[in-house]
């Protein structure tokens, strides 16, 4: 959004400088592993990039799972999901700075995001379920403005920093000899654990049964005596907690700042469009796919292009194509299956 116009050259500062760093080169700031163009394709580097892609995919899954759950059960498109990601990151960074413990911060991020999700659901989102998508888009767009500016109000424009917890601060040696951050591996592990947990929650528990019932027929489970308003609040808070959790974990790899949720949100949209809206399985497959394609594209494209042009030209052309790659893949998948890979019905 624009700051009010004072001079004709104002668009130069449309975004606050804190957001500018988000836009340099790689648009996913936590992929801050420098990729030298023209490097010889070594297997160690390849494995490292593969893991980075997996880590991105796992994070995207946490975001996409919440989005797709909320859409599946309540039929709501929530643009403000990225704001909940930001809330989680800020809560974790702030609490960790106050207490000195990353783990308390992580717990705080879950609690803060879930609580914020529940409050927003009860105060605003609840009124939007019966509206058309246009109203939902607009209202949640307004929520983004409120969240972003509100966060800037409370925490200021200076990014917060969050350190990787001591227990996970080391490196592991990968096959091939290169060293890899233990913390990133841990994120992959946690993401897989959350995916399994979510699967168990939805397929084994009573709450999960209600969620599935809500997905297939909202009116019916209300008629059967399930308190549907509370169920909606719980689902929204659950999605919010997943987003906040993702934000907190990624917060240790990048600076915690206003606007950090937006690039991730848009990738999460791509993920659920590819996977099929409403499908958790689709979100998982889509997230891994997008994570790997995006990371490997940025890594491999300049090298592919260097086969038939100069190194510096190949680097720019490769980077430009790589930044578009997931969208191209999305277009191709939609051309074949407009409803996504795992859509229901």
């Amino acid at each position: 959004m624009a700051t009010p116009m004072r001079s004709s050259a104002r668009s130069k500062s449309r975004l606050p400088s804190s957001q500018k760093s988000l836009r340099r080169g790689h648009h996913l700031p936590y992929l801050n592993v420098p990729i030298a163009s023209g490097t010889i394709l070594s297997s160690a580097l390849f494995i490292e990039q593969l893991l980075n892609g997996l880590q991105l995919g796992v994070m995207l899954f946490l975001m996409a799972a919440g989005l797709t759950l909320i859409f599946g059960v309540m039929g709501l498109i929530n643009l403000a999901h990225g704001s909940l990601y930001m809330v989680g990151a800020f809560a974790c960074a702030w609490v960790a700075a106050q207490t000195g413990s990353f783990w308390i911060g992580l717990a705080a991020s879950l609690a803060a995001a879930a609580a914020m999700g529940a409050i927003v659901e009860i105060a605003i989102i609840r009124r939007l379920y019966s509206r058309d998508h246009l109203d939902q888009v607009l209202a949640t767009f307004a929520l983004i403005l409120i969240f972003s500016e509100g966060t800037r109000w409370v925490f200021g424009s200076v990014p917060l920093y969050l350190n990787v917890p001591e227990q996970l601060a080391g490196f592991v040696t990968l096959p091939g000899g290169s060293r890899y951050q233990l913390y990133r591996l841990a994120i992959i592990g946690v993401g897989v654990a959350v995916a399994v947990g979510l699967y168990l929650l939805i397929s084994m528990t009573r709450l999960g049964m209600r969620i599935r019932a809500g997905e297939s027929d909202r009116e019916m489970i209300g008629a059967l005596g399930v308190d549907i308003r509370t169920l909606y609040t719980i689902v929204f808070a659950l999605g919010a907690a997943l987003a906040g959790f993702a934000g907190a974990m990624v917060g240790a790899l990048q600076s915690v700042q206003v606007g950090m949720g937006e690039p991730v949100l848009i990738l999460a949209f791509v993920v659920i469009v590819i996977g099929g809206i409403g499908s958790i399985k689709g979100a998982l497959v889509g997230a891994i796919l997008v994570g790997l394609i995006d990371t490997m594209g940025r890594f491999l494209m300049p090298q592919v292009f260097s086969v038939f042009m100069g190194t510096s030209q190949a680097a720019t052309a490769g980077a430009a194509v790589a930044s578009m790659l997931i969208y191209i893949v999305m277009a191709i998948i939609l051309a074949v299956r407009p409803q996504g890979l795992f859509a229901k019905g």
């Binding site: 668009s11 836009r23 246009l134 929520l143 930044s323």
Partner: protein, 326 residues
């Protein structure tokens, strides 16, 4: 004359009057503000064709806005540097002429809209919203990562492009030019809305199965509307580039797409002058709030939320009442 027609004429006159009154009162800055209103209104008129008449909630119109802007920026930069623009198969000289730039901007935005529309219109509902958003982000990231035209830093237009017979560097002249384009496009919108094509488009919004059953393919109607819509927004982008004499990827950011939707909802979805009313209100509120507090985005968000939750139908809707049928 219906009440809506009277309101429309009043809005058109008010927008026209703002810069004259401002100049009289010795605050020429408002001329630029009014120009901004006219250009944003133009961009939203384009979106209104797809969103209002066709029911296609595109969250990616910033892409066309940006493509139009870059068409102006790139052609002007080649004219400035005297280097021909090499497209591989042929070389073109840059130009400072707005007429040429507008044609190129319209054509380029139309091509991009054709591609995005052809893929996105295979889907509907939320999918459509997300896919148009994603494609707009694709162009945004492309603009950032392609360094030839400034990349992330954007591209300056050193001298505003020229229009035969008009000194465009005079703010008032440039305003009148933008205003004339806006009125012309509004006439076009009205003609389209009342044509057989417009009838088919609106029918497809209400019930596409029925439209298909009388032998009209909704996909082709919608694609045509989406392309025309993108072209109009592209033209607005070229004017916006000339207004700021600067083009940057932020013209393609999703905030811009959101802003266009906001303009339409504020004014009234599908109404002829909805985007004009919305743009006038939005720019005014943005300016006034921005003057009062640094936290103006917070309050803008609250205001938008209140409009969505409590005031449906937008400004024109509340002034002129429901759309009359028949």
């Amino acid at each position: 004359m219906t009440r809506e027609t009277i309101i429309n004429i009043a809005l058109a006159l008010v927008l026209l009057a703002i810069p004259f009154v401002a100049t009289q009162m010795g605050s020429p800055f408002y001329v630029t503000l009014a120009t901004r209103m006219a250009i944003l209104a133009l961009a939203a008129v384009g979106l209104n064709l797809a969103l209002g008449l066709g029911g296609l909630v595109s969250f990616g119109h910033a892409a066309f806005f940006g493509v139009g802007g870059y068409a102006a920026g790139i052609l002007a930069s080649h004219a400035f540097s005297m280097q021909p623009l090499d497209l591989g198969f042929a070389e073109f000289a840059g130009t400072n002429s707005m007429l040429v730039i507008w044609l190129v901007a319209i054509a380029a935005a139309g091509l991009v809209a054709l591609f995005i529309g052809a893929v996105s219109l295979r889907t509907s509902g939320v999918y459509f919203i997300m896919i148009t958003l994603a494609f707009a982000q694709m162009t945004y990231y492309f603009a950032i990562s392609w360094p030839a035209y400034g990349g992330e830093d954007g591209l300056s237009i050193f001298v505003r492009n020229t229009f035969p017979g008009i000194n465009t560097m005079v703010p008032m002249s440039f305003f009148l030019l933008c205003y004339a384009v806006l009125i012309a496009v509004l006439v076009l919108f009205w003609l389209v809305g009342n044509s057989r094509f417009g009838a088919a488009l609106q029918a497809a919004r209400q019930n596409d199965v029925r439209v298909a059953s009388v032998g009209i393919a909704p996909f082709r109607i919608r694609l045509a509307a989406f392309v025309i819509s993108g072209m109009i927004t592209g033209l607005a982008g070229a004017l916006y580039a000339d207004l700021n004499r600067f083009v940057s990827p932020s013209m393609m950011s999703w905030h811009m797409s959101g802003e266009f939707i906001v303009l339409i909802i504020l004014g009234g979805v599908g109404r002829l002058f909805g985007p004009v009313a919305g743009a006038m209100m939005f720019v005014m509120v943005e300016y006034l709030l921005g003057g009062m507090t640094d936290r103006w985005q917070f309050f803008l968000g609250l205001a938008l939320l209140a409009v969505v939750l409590f005031a449906r139908g937008g400004l024109i809707g509340s002034l002129a009442g429901k759309v009359r049928h028949g």
